[in-house]
Symmetry: C2
Subunit: 436 residues, 2 copies
């Protein structure tokens, strides 16, 4: 059974703290193995990729080829049914138009002293997108990662995806083709991350790596961080549903299960001020679970990590929501908009009874790559900004330097960086302050 | 002598590639030691901080106190001379007014279907600022990290700074006071990073850690990433000066040395189309070096990592600049603005002969925390955005869900996530597609 908490209980504070601290993933330390794989790929390039793919994916890249030919991408796109293709195209168009609004503006202004300040945004040159293989191969994730990169203007988007037993889901290749991915390689794991970061004979290195993966992929991304940029390290997914007595128990139960079916480590939380809703949702979950194809996964997630938290009022619950900092927050309540406006920490908020999280997963237009495991306290979902960077620009007129120079020289002297002070003094003909 | 390259040489491409790949830091693997310290601080809290500080900093925190009392901050601010205080205040005011322009805008709009999309920016709740001790204790860095956090609206800004032999530079404490840092603790190293990430009896945990540090600090930041947010991992500083025959050799030489005096691992690069300028700069550097208090450091940096690269034209040099992706780029040339506009990868650009980088270090108003070691290819200097995060918001009117629902259900079916499809179907009364 999911955990039950009540803010009215004497031990609530302690039990809630324990709940927040509980780990949903067995943390496997694969750092040494990932490091060895990275070193090997740096040393042996494509040959190392071939060896690891034979071992881990039972595939012979020497025969099949590391790069997926364009013809194979075209064939994958041609192979999917018209309805699915139309759904992918709708998703792509909506993601594109929403993300286009995220393009940042440059700035340039000259202040009263004659100093021109500003910044200019430019795209990253080359991005690598990691896509997991097997059952977690989601075409929607390909779109959610590749389309913002495209909107940012990234000129080279590379995708890596493992091909266990030689197979890559055609939908994943079709989504890559639709999204305009430039190169696709059939390799996964830490070896794929190493190839993207350092390059091999076949794969030119990229500047930033995004996308989710298993523990090896996460460890490898952490290790190559600095050499290249990385996005967040994704953990298991979670939803918190804030609902009052007006909510539909069926809608709430369906959404808790849409989260739970992802993974046994996924987490679904209901926070409500209504005992009656809690009881109805509990019953509806049990009823729906029995009819789900992924019943076993969803049942384990709900049993081991699910929670129902009873609160005095939804207003008072906002502080709890902020402490959970959920990846997904749904609000089913009479005053959903007002409640949403009070939340500080959440990856995404889905407002009202007719906004199931699944809409955001596919066709809403906003990004479904969101901060997990409480990291919404300090990070944001994927956006166009993740594929761009800002160069700051400074230009002093000689008069401006004359006005600002003495203060800069004073601080340089205080920090005992005499050459800093002299680089100002030589232009302003002021005596250097150095040497104190 | 610094390395000399010429794009006209037959072996230029290879030598330039080697130059880019050369390491300026001995990379010390301190991961295991940092991990042990983090584990110990998690287990023993303040007692561990006291033990490490006794060993590494020769200071008795049990006697002196972990937290620096407000009275000590006030006394530090009162102790500095009026001119230095005025310079710090000018720097703070300029940083503040420039960074205020970086505050991001919220967005909300309803599309033709009736879907409301948008995002809201909120500040991180608590930020930890790491400040190195000893000779690298720079009050300007305190301002550059704390002021943007303040502008972002961060309600709790915590600073940690080691106190070797019990001493913290009064200027650092004064800058913290001026910048409005809320809590200061006299502890450094991996133990300080662990305390910020996990908390101890005295130090409440923060959500994000920023600021430069030594190899232990960098390793610890990398390890706590995920539990908290971190900024970039800073490497040694660098400048690339792009100059034509109109440039002043003295200005160029002074700026190369302002970079070189930071650290023996710092790097100063001159790229020019003028043999005459190159010769004059070489002579001026030698001349100025002999008169610098930090001659030894600057000389080692220039000798071991300095470079003069001869190009056919500055226009043709832009591609080289982008490959270096320098932290600081100065342009001393007749058409400096036009050249600056063509650069894609640089942390900051300083345009024209009267914009020495030192102005940006102190009082220009832009941030001096910039991406080093070629990471301007994928990351930006510190800004207000580093202390905020974006919550995305989605709201469907029932009609909008009816229109988008079928495509979402199609994709859910394609990904075999039936509960996702059902969460839509239950609201739209469409037959679920699941189970295929």
């Amino acid at each position: 059974m999911p955990i039950r908490l009540d803010t009215a209980s004497a031990d609530f504070a302690q039990r809630f703290a324990e709940f927040l601290a509980s780990k949903r993933e067995v943390s496997v330390d694969v750092n040494d193995k990932a490091a060895a794989i990275i070193a090997d790929v740096r040393a042996r390039g494509d040959a190392a990729l071939t060896d690891y793919s034979r071992t881990f994916d039972r595939v012979d890249l020497a025969a099949l080829g590391l790069r997926v030919p364009d013809a194979e991408l075209d064939a994958a796109l041609a192979s999917i049914d018209a309805e699915t293709r139309a759904a992918l195209e709708l998703a792509k168009a909506r993601i594109e138009s929403h993300h286009a609004r995220q393009r940042p503006a440059d700035d340039s202004y000259t202040d009263a002293l004659g100093v021109t300040l500003g910044h200019r945004w430019t795209s990253v040159d080359a991005v690598g997108l990691y896509v997991p293989g097997g059952t977690a191969a989601y075409p929607s994730s390909v779109l959610m990662n590749a389309v913002p990169a495209k909107v940012a203007g990234v000129p080279r988007i590379v995708m890596v995806v493992p091909a266990p037993d030689g197979v890559i889901a055609p939908l994943v290749l079709a989504a890559a083709k639709l999204a305009g991915v430039h190169e696709v390689y059939r390799v996964g794991g830490a070896q794929a991350v190493a190839a993207l970061a350092y390059g091999t004979e076949t794969i030119a290195p990229v500047d930033k790596i995004v996308g989710p993966g298993n523990a090896f992929v996460a460890a490898a991304k952490r290790q190559v961080f600095g050499k290249v940029g990385i996005d967040m390290i994704a953990g298991p997914s979670e939803v918190l549903i804030l609902a009052d007595g007006t909510a539909s128990a069926d809608f709430v139960a369906a959404d808790l299960l849409a989260q739970a079916e992802h993974d046994t480590a996924a987490q679904s939380i209901l926070v409500t001020d209504s005992d009656e809703l809690a009881a109805h949702v509990t019953a509806a979950v049990e009823d729906m679970l029995a009819r789900l194809p992924r019943e076993e996964i969803a049942r384990a997630s709900w049993r081991d990590h699910g929670a129902i938290i009873k609160v005095e009022s939804l207003d008072a619950a906002i502080a709890l929501v902020d402490r959970v900092a959920p990846e997904h927050l749904e609000i089913h309540a009479a005053d959903a908009d007002a409640l949403a406006a009070k939340v500080r920490h959440a990856g995404a908020i889905f407002i009202g009874a007719f906004t199931p999280e699944a809409i955001g997963d596919y066709v809403g237009g906003s990004n479904h790559v969101l901060p997990t495991a409480r990291s919404a306290r300090f990070s944001s979902g994927l956006s166009v900004l993740d594929f761009m960077k800002r160069t700051s620009i400074l230009k002093c007129a000689p008069d401006a330097l004359a006005v600002l120079g003495p203060a800069a020289m004073r601080l340089a002297a205080a920090e005992r960086l005499d050459a800093h002070g002299r680089s100002v003094a030589i232009r302003t003909n002021l005596p250097p302050e150095g040497g104190q």
